[in-house]
Symmetry: C2
Subunit: 386 residues, 2 copies
């Protein structure tokens, strides 16, 4: 089927441009890609236990076949590994394996592995190359484009990091088959985000394709991932450092991060938090009079059809305000909050945390974390005002 | 005296270009400079106890007068503070002071403060601006140009870091008066390095000016610092990422770092280690037949007249080889070692650690660390071969 052929998206960043390859069965070409794109003589594969068990040997075989000395480092699974202590352990592991400026890191796994590996690559010896092999939908469409790397601090997510572009991204969709259904679904949140801020006809295609996407049918999946990557690459290529345009990629992320902070990075997957954040933002956009009516309903329906949660966990307004306060996009007391004008068109609006939490139900007696039920009442049960 | 007027050197790096201002009594202009160059609304002054006691209040007064909210963080003195744990403490301090992307860091102190502050600025929230206020000769001519920031690992110096250009550098030479004589002298090692690799007439001027420089006479000092900064800015401006040309700035640093590693970052100041490394490199250059005869004698004499040590601490060849082995400039087994062809002209040569240590006296019964005596016997007592 021709729509399942591999696709190449070029992320254009001058001399730091790189290709994102999306297709099925690409893992065997990893070694050739690493050798060609990095010029390295040594590769360190960084992965997590489950992914490493499934795909590690195949990745290493391909790296060795390309003439690279290589080894594997496994880090514990979960976002809790994305911290400074784990980065320090990786530096020590790299030195123990005699890594130098002729070494490249290969991140095999989801967004956590990519962010952590990218951060270590950005800072080890002031920067060595790395290649991403994302194995989740989320990492394929989001973490692999933009050059954002980083780790969490106890005070919040991604508070320490660096911009460091990968030398290449290899997205082998056959690795998605082993993902739990919940993680597959969560990944599509960033696809929905890309469509929401940029491309209404892509949004309409997603509305029609939710079922085949969740089944990972390649004819639907590969062009969908390609379109989402292209949108992000277009935004990032125009504006490598986070400014104006790139801020639109934060759609759903201010409240999404607040939710994750409140949950202590447990309970909800990142994509689930983003889904909640996007639906919240669409409601707020309508309430503020920025958006045309009906977008919250469409966004809620699409997220729900993709199996994503759409309701805020039941914390108080004060808790959400505080959680927004350590968000790194804060500048003075206002946050550049991303609002939708309509499906496919977004902009930022400077809002205080208090203004942002205006739609959080008073009293904090809302639904429990992880709830997947769509809010069939639209925005009507939410109170307005401070 | 007109030669003591303030000088401005522009480091040309496209949109990341920045000015280095060199003169006396400039500290009172800090706040205006930070506000103009960074656009920040908040500044965090990072310093060490002694420097902070002398100049901290004046710096903060200037920052406040420019309308900036500001605060001070003091880190323990010494290279031992330049590590990941101290960086983590600084991240926490910044968050406690509600730092955000509208904050700027100000590094007030020597190279350690600049490297650590620069690294934290490079990585906090994926990068915020910083301004350097170097208070040592070394930091004025070396650490302030090139954008290298970083911290040490237990395994070696500067193994973790990032390239992050300051928004501006303010070198107030009046702050040098409080430096111990030994630290003043050590700073001139990097000035000698700049002259050695790039400018023979500047080298000749240094040979004539050693005494007034050590007395910090502004008529000699300010143009000397300016010339050294211009050389480094020229090298770095042509080649922002460390490649070919920029490698020449490593003259004296391979063995210098090895010495520092062996000494555990104690005992010798960085400039002293570099002096030893440069004299060693000049001898090796002659031994290898790369350099014209006599350069080792001139370099030894100049370093000695500036009060710098020139002899290797008495470790074994094996110890030096091992210490070179964790040097981050290693690629495979060869090091791009910087040799001099003549005074003012350098190039790199790929050498193994074994080849580099060929002039280390056999048996390791050499002079003790910190020895300042010039080697009046030139290179003759050193054995050749592996």
């Amino acid at each position: 089927m021709s729509s399942a052929r591999p696709r190449n998206v070029r992320v254009s960043l001058g001399e730091r441009s790189y290709p994102v390859r999306i297709g099925t069965g690409l893992l065997d070409g990893l070694g050739e890609l690493v050798a060609r794109r990095t010029g390295a003589h040594h590769a360190v594969l960084i992965t997590v236990p489950g992914v490493g068990r499934r795909y590690g040997a195949r990745a290493l075989r391909s790296l060795r076949a390309a003439g690279l000395r290589c080894s594997r480092v496994t880090v514990p699974d979960g976002d809790a590994s994305k911290n400074l202590a784990q980065a320090a352990e990786l530096y020590a592991a790299l030195l123990a394996q005699r890594a130098d400026r002729g070494s490249a890191l290969v991140a095999l796994g989801g967004g956590m592995v990519g962010d952590l590996t990218g951060y270590v690559a950005a800072t080890f010896l002031r920067g060595i190359p790395f290649v991403q092999v994302p194995t989740t939908v989320l990492a394929m469409v989001d973490a692999s484009v933009g050059g954002k790397t980083g780790v969490n601090l106890p005070e919040g997510k991604n508070l320490v990091g660096a911009f460091h572009q990968p030398a290449a991204v290899l997205a082998d969709v056959s690795t998605l088959r082993s993902l739990p259904a919940r993680e597959r679904a969560a990944g599509f949140a960033e696809v929905v985000k890309a469509a929401s801020i940029w491309d209404s006809s892509f949004f309409a295609r997603l509305e029609r394709r939710a079922a085949p996407l969740l089944r990972l049918e390649e004819g639907a999946l590969i062009p969908t991932l390609e379109r989402a990557v292209r949108i992000k690459a277009e935004v990032v290529g125009r504006d490598e450092r986070e400014q104006d345009l790139r801020m639109l990629l934060n759609f759903g992320h201010s409240m999404g991060h607040a939710v994750e902070t409140l949950e202590g990075y447990r309970g909800l997957l990142h994509g689930e938090a983003v889904s909640i954040g996007m639906v919240y933002a669409s409601r707020l956009s309508e309430t503020l009079g920025v958006a045309e009516a009906g977008i919250a309903t469409r966004l809620t329906a699409l997220c729900t059809s993709l199996g994503l949660p759409v309701e805020l966990p039941g914390y108080s307004r004060l808790a959400y305000r505080k959680a927004l306060g350590v968000d790194k996009k804060r500048r003075d007391d206002r946050i550049h909050y991303v609002v939708l004008e309509r499906i496919g068109a977004a902009r930022t609006q400077a809002l205080t945390p208090a203004e942002i939490v205006a739609l959080v139900p008073r009293g904090g007696a809302g639904p429990k974390p992880g709830g997947r039920r769509a809010d069939s009442r639209g925005g009507t049960r939410y109170l307005r005002g401070k």
